[in-house]
């Protein structure tokens, strides 16, 4: 099996920890490596303790690793809280004279600040680290220079100088730590993309044309991405006054024919709840992109959590159909973004796409999504009416004809009150029941188009891991690393509402079922128990704001 390496940069906010890590990733991708990044940062703009790690290998990779091979403490004092990530072979390059060395690993004092001042400015410290790493991992300096030029534009020259300074220093002082790795041959045409950008590309390729949001970590990346693309792709991107306005504005656009989505995290999602209910009864199809972080309330704003699943499923007052999709990778963030727009348009209901900080803000090597086309579901709209348009006609599928403003003779009310087939308010019991049942039928009609749960692993497996969303990455990575012949398979649930009854058949024959969730109360486990015969023998949860690492799951599984 190909060896997996991890390089981690740590230091205060404002010194380019993230941009240095991204540069390193882009360089590795340009060499043909597979990359999985992960970053941690506190909710502040300057100072604090920021980390960016790049896990990479020549083969397949599903998640970042916990164990670090090369660690950079860009300013003094940023390595001590990472002792558990070090092995006897870890090189810790720290810009300090250290009295007490770490018990595990080799600490080398590297005068990063002095070197950066010699180059011209402390803000190139990160690029010096990239130069050091490039030497130790036998990277091609020409490819590195090309990536630096691409990333830094007018500042490229100084950064190339910084890169070279790091390279030369490592050559002179650190060659004892040269790693044994052969960069793959041939440059793959892959890009570094995080879950939010992947979601944004899916929105664009899926024909999305109206996105509104209010900044909230960790969903803000999607807003930034789409706002920057609005002219090129003719999108309406609106930063509205609050999340209630965000959702209401998008619902208006969707009524008027837009393929609309809103993006937020838990707190903003709470404000949008009335709109979810309103979309349910008015049958205005729109997408809610919910990128979770740990609550309650402001919680841990820049960390990860799967703690909003039940809230998402139960969002909005009253009873109405909704679809909740949970992408389990950055690529699925792309796919489900496009699919959610289709489902919202075709079935005229709220569609939620539930991601989290780990998935949305972690970057990976992926095919170029700007070139990845998807075919939208075709949705028919009425071309002309007779002045008595039944927007809420009772149909066997529950899906009624749609007309857009501007269509002669098809005027109707999109009504938040219970209403008759025309949209006029109604309170009688027959109409109420008929409309509730009609709307509910849409879930059955949508079912063939909902992503099925995916089973990974051998048919001979006796132990089944059940997970959803971002946890799938570490679970699949753990299975990949377990010794051959291990008894595990993994089921990744991708449509978390409505629950596909077939999951019962997929799970019932395993003597052992282990659910793994990045929340406190095992929320998918609760949902599955409520919907099908489902009896896990073990539940593993983690709710400290950090994702699972494959190494800790392997410990749990062996």
């Amino acid at each position: 099996m190909e060896k997996v390496f991890t390089i981690k940069l740590a230091g205060p906010a404002g010194l380019g920890i993230k941009s240095g890590g991204q540069l390193l990733s882009q360089i590795l991708i340009a060499h043909g490596f597979s990359v999985h990044d992960y970053n941690e940062y506190p909710s502040l703009v300057r100072g604090g303790h920021n980390t960016y790690q790049v896990t990479f290998t020549t083969g397949e990779l599903f998640a970042p690793h916990h164990t670090v091979d090369l660690f950079f403490s860009i300013t003094p004092g940023h390595w001590q809280q990472h002792l558990k990530e070090f092995t006897p072979n870890t090189l810790i390059a720290a810009d300090e004279k250290v009295a007490a060395a770490p018990t595990t690993g080799h600490l080398e004092s590297v005068p990063l600040k002095d070197m950066s001042i010699e180059v011209g400015t402390v803000i190139v410290t990160n690029t010096i680290c990239v130069g050091l790493a490039a030497f130790l991992f036998h990277l091609d300096p020409e490819i590195c220079h090309a990536q630096i030029t691409q990333q830094f534009g007018k500042n490229a020259e100084m950064n190339i100088k910084a890169f070279d300074a790091g390279w030369v220093y490592a050559q002179k002082h650190l060659s004892a730590y040269l790693q044994s790795v052969n960069p793959p041959k041939g440059v793959a045409n892959r890009k570094l993309v995080d879950g939010n950008e992947a979601y944004g590309w899916g929105f664009i390729q899926g024909g999305g044309n109206f996105y509104s949001a209010y900044p909230m970590t960790p969903a803000t990346g999607a807003l930034h991405f789409l706002a920057a693309k609005q002219q090129e792709y003719k999108l309406h991107v609106v930063h509205a006054e609050d999340e209630i306005g965000v959702a209401s504005i998008a619902s208006g656009a969707a009524f008027a024919g837009a393929r609309a989505a809103v993006g937020t995290s838990g707190g903003g999602f709470a404000l949008m709840n009335e709109t979810i209910s309103y979309c349910g009864v008015t049958e205005i199809g729109m997408v809610f992109y919910l990128v979770s972080r740990p609550g309650p309330a402001t919680g841990l704003p820049t960390y990860t959590s799967q703690g909003d699943l039940l809230y998402a499923i139960n969002s909005g007052h009253g009873e109405f159909p909704k679809i909740v999709l949970a992408p389990s990778s950055q690529l699925e963030s792309f796919e489900f973004s496009a699919l959610s727009l289709d489902l919202a348009a075709a079935y005229q209901l709220p569609v939620l796409v539930v991601s989290d900080k780990f998935l949305a803000e972690s970057a990976v090597s992926l095919e170029d999504l700007s070139q990845k086309k998807v075919t939208p579901l075709s949705v028919e709209v009425v071309k002309e009416g007779d002045g008595h348009f039944k927007r809420y006609a009772l149909t066997p599928t529950g899906v009624s004809p749609v007309a857009l403003p501007g269509t002669k003779g098809a005027e109707f009310i999109a009504n938040s009150y219970e209403h008759d087939e025309y949209g006029y308010s109604a309170e009688d019991s027959e109409t109420t029941v008929a409309q509730l049942e009609k709307r509910h039928r849409k879930l059955d009609s949508a079912k063939p188009n909902l992503p099925k749960a995916v089973l990974h692993g051998s048919p001979k497996a006796t132990k089944l891991i059940v997970c959803w969303g971002s946890v799938a990455g570490p679970v699949l990575e753990a299975l990949r690393l377990l010794p051959a012949g291990h008894p595990y398979a993994a089921l990744v649930v991708r449509t978390v509402w409505p629950i596909d009854p077939e999951i019962e058949a997929l799970t019932k024959n395993y003597p052992e079922i282990i659910t793994v969730e990045n929340n406190q109360t095992a929320q998918l486990t609760t949902v599955l128990r409520s919907q099908i015969n489902f009896h896990p023998t073990r539940v593993i949860t983690k709710f400290d704001g950090r994702p699972f690492y494959p190494e800790e799951l392997i410990k749990e599984f062996t």
Binding site: F255, G257, P405, T407, K408, A410, A414
Partner: protein, 208 residues
């Protein structure tokens, strides 16, 4: 040209006899009929409240939205479809209370929507509690000891947000003037708000 008959629906208004909302409805239908705007190009977004119940009585494209959200929904429609004429009908509770943040946003943006506020100084569909425009000191069901807040006056605070927008106040009782102002609001390019001074025949006694 649209006729007033074409703007009617099979549903007769459900307001209390003598409600000033009848006058706003009649004025709006007349103005729409007299205008060159085809019904299919007209979208009316209704708030929740007595005035919002007009939704069932006018035959155009319409959204009967949520309490306070009519302006935000209307802004979304207008942003995506500038070709449409977008009108908002709401009360003082929805527009100046629950939806105040959206009103401020629409005025700042000079969003090209026409807002008609049926301002009767009370929450009337919920049987008569204080609203943001209730005069100071008035005793209502939710303020039996008297209102202690200063009332919001749209014609004063909206121009302070953006002096490019059109804001007028008119009494529903002065029908000729009301109809004239409705037409003027519809013809205005940019954000327009007509504050229609009304009296609640059922719960307005509290204010006198």
């Amino acid at each position: 040209m649209t006729t007033i008959a074409e703007l009617r629906t099979p549903h007769a208004p459900t307001w209390c006899p003598g409600c000033d909302d009848f006058l706003l409805l009649a004025g709006l239908q007349q103005a729409l009929a007299a205008s060159a705007i085809p019904t299919e190009k007209t979208v009316i977004v209704y708030d929740i409240g007595c005035a919002g119940n007009m939704a069932d009585f006018v035959h155009t494209y319409a959204v009967h939205s949520l309490h306070g959200r009519s302006i935000a929904v209307a802004m979304g429609i207008k942003l995506f479809r500038p070709d449409l004429t977008v009108i908002v009908i709401g009360g003082d509770g929805g527009i100046y209370g629950e939806g105040l943040n959206h009103l401020v946003a629409a005025a700042r943006a000079n969003s090209d929507i026409k807002v008609f506020v049926s301002n009767n100084y009370l929450y009337s569909l919920t049987t008569g509690q204080t609203s943001p425009t209730t005069p100071k000191g008035a005793k209502t069901k939710s303020t039996p000891l008297g209102v202690t807040n200063e009332p919001l006056v749209a014609s004063r605070f909206i121009p302070a947000i953006n002096d490019q927008v059109w804001v007028q106040k008119v009494s529903a009782k002065n029908i000729a003037e009301l109809n004239g102002e409705i037409k003027e609001a519809l013809n205005h390019q940019g954000f327009a708000l007509l504050d229609v001074d009304e009296n609640c025949v059922s719960f307005g006694k509290q204010l006198r």
